[in-house]
Amino acid sequence: MKILVADDSRVMRQIVIRTLRQAGFGGHDVVEAENGRIAMDAVLADAPDLVLSDWNMPEMNGIDCLVGLRAAGCAVPFGFVTSEGSDDMRARAAAAGALFLIAKPFTAETFAEALSAVLAPTG
């Protein structure tokens, strides 16, 4: 399985990838994108099995990326990993078709809980 991690911060992409490993999903392939535009192009080209995306990014933000993907007929499972976890943001994410919103800071347990419905653990 392939996971696309979209975040404009390389530091945060590293933390997300490390947390995936700690949560038991380290055996999946990970590809990275540094904004929503690059993520959208990569999803349409490479068809990953899951997208984990930041919300607030330059060029194209995460919610516009998700809306764009759905408009293009792409149903890829999509979850946000963002510092903004308010009810309003969660409602907007769900309305656009996101499966979950993980608020930063997060733990490996949060990842395991959110991702277990989508991905099989790899140990």
């Binding site: 911060s9 530091v11 590293q14 510092s83 903004e84 930063k104 800071p105």
Partner: protein, 152 residues
Amino acid sequence: MSTAAPTLDDVRSLTEEVWASFLGEAEPLLPGAGGPTGGWSAAITVTGGWEGMVTVELTDRVAAAVTQQMLGMAEDEVASDEDVADAVGELVNMVGGNVKSLMPGPSTLSLPVVAVGRVARPSDAVEACRVEASWLGEPVVVSVHVFGAAAA
């Protein structure tokens, strides 16, 4: 626009939560005496239902250690300025995003701005709360400013 401001306890507790999640393994964030830190600083603004600015100030040594921890680098690896700017920006993004979530919305979070030295604040910004902490024996300062009408 709301004239509310987050409480000192709220900002302290979410700062400690950020530290505990990504930086606390080596050493927890402790209460500190604060004071100007020199080194690196980062700011992020919230506009909309609530308007304010969150800043983080770190010494050079703390900024470098934050970067090493967040990137999982070895102790003898030197973090580049680009990596330090990224890590410090992500710290203020997390604190700022959590402050935004506490305040009335809807509002928008900016992208972080990172500087060597202190970030200049707009003249109508008034400090609403200031968390003075210590990590690795050096000061860490997180502050929240509110703007204009909200500060009056």
